[in-house]
């Protein structure tokens, strides 16, 4: 499983970011850069990640930094999967 690609797919479907308009890679900044990412969207992404990867996320584990970039979010998932 390529975590980064899966995370990108989740971001695309929850934030409605089509491939032809928005390029997403590890360096892409999220919070503060992508207008669609508000508190509702954060909730949708966390829930989608729980369903996709099969782990439970405690709200306290997540901070603004987690959503800094595609890379930071992917690392969060990788850590959860490795834990």
């Amino acid at each position: 499983m390529n975590v980064e690609n899966e995370v990108i797919e989740i971001l695309r479907s929850t934030l409605n970011l089509p491939r032809d308009r928005v390029a997403l890679s590890a360096d892409t900044a999220l919070l503060g850069s992508i207008a669609e990412l508000d508190s509702m969207a954060v909730v949708s992404i966390l829930t989608a990640m729980e369903e996709r990867f099969g782990f439970a996320i405690d709200d306290d584990e997540v901070e603004g930094r987690t959503f800094e970039s595609v890379g930071s979010l992917s690392r969060f998932v990788q850590d959860k999967l490795g834990a």
Binding site: E9, T14, N16, L37, S39, M40, E63
Partner: protein, 279 residues
């Protein structure tokens, strides 16, 4: 999508569990309805997000001969009362009251959208032949509540609210447990509502004998049914319940940032309900 036949709409207020509930009826203009479809709306903000799709569906159903009854639960939408005064049992009574209005002999569908599907447990106990049209049904109220309360954390994560200090550190879930009403995403939830929702599950009555149409949206290609739904459908089928399920590709319109449409869901709903209820 076009309407087959002309329809009409009428609005009224009916007596609900704690006050007047707003009821919108959409039906064929010049023919007797072939049956009634009772709408059970989703929880809190999802009700707003799904308004457009539900309004389109209601008109389509009416144009195909159905009488569609859309009643806002107490404290929701255009009904009287405040959200903070609503509780789960009152909502069950609101829905039961609407079901009582339907003639026993006419075909009747409960159209449960997301958390609206949770009313199936009580309503199928009242009417064993109640058919279910389910849109992305929530199967456990506890998950609906958990996801909703998470909005509080979402606001903190995006920096919309400061990190709590001192007495504010208790999470919304902890404050509800302590008997306090909490405000999340502009909705005030009472401990009574939270407790009732938490206990609610999708579980049709033991001797249930209606038909079930189960529709989900999926972003995956090809679309796949979620694992919890697959298990729930299997349990129903093992009990001999007739379930038709289908997954269509489309946006998660109950939670997307912009209001989204999914014509495929409307079309498949209309087609499947027609197949299940031959004229």
């Amino acid at each position: 999508m076009s309407l087959d036949r002309p329809t009409r709409q009428s609005a009224s207020y009916v007596r609900g569990s704690t006050g007047a509930c707003f009821r919108l009826v959409t039906e064929p203009l010049d023919a007797a309805a072939r049956g009634t479809v009772l709408w059970a709306h989703p929880f809190a903000e999802e009700m707003n997000k799904t308004r457009r799709m539900c309004a389109r569906m209601a008109r389509l159903l009416a144009s195909r001969g159905w009488r569609v009854v859309q009643t806002d639960l107490s404290g929701c939408g255009d009904s009287s009362g405040e959200f903070r005064d609503a509780d789960w049992q009152g909502w069950v009574e609101d829905m039961a009251g609407e079901l009582e209005q339907v003639e026993a002999l006419e075909p009747c569908w409960l159209w449960g959208v997301r958390a609206g599907a949770l009313f199936a447990s009580e309503l199928t106990a009242l009417r064993k032949d109640l058919n279910l049209l389910l849109w992305q049904p929530a199967l456990q109220g506890s998950l609906v509540l958990q996801q909703f309360l998470r909005l509080h954390a979402g606001a903190r994560i995006v920096g919309a609210t400061p990190k709590p200090t001192g007495d504010d550190q208790a999470s919304p879930a902890q404050r509800l447990k302590a008997g306090q009403t909490v405000e999340v995403g502009g909705y005030e939830i009472s401990p009574a509502l939270a407790t009732g929702l938490q206990r609610a599950t999708f579980d049709p009555a033991p001797d249930y004998r209606g038909r079930v149409l189960w529709l989900e949206l999926s972003a995956a290609q090809p679309p796949v049914l979620s694992a919890p739904s697959r298990d729930a459908i299997q349990r129903l089928q093992q009990r001999g319940v007739h379930v038709v399920h289908e997954t269509v590709a489309g946006p998660m319109f109950w939670q997307t940032q912009e209001i989204e449409d999914c014509d495929a869901l409307l079309q498949r709903s209309i087609d499947l309900i027609a197949e299940a209820s031959p004229a």
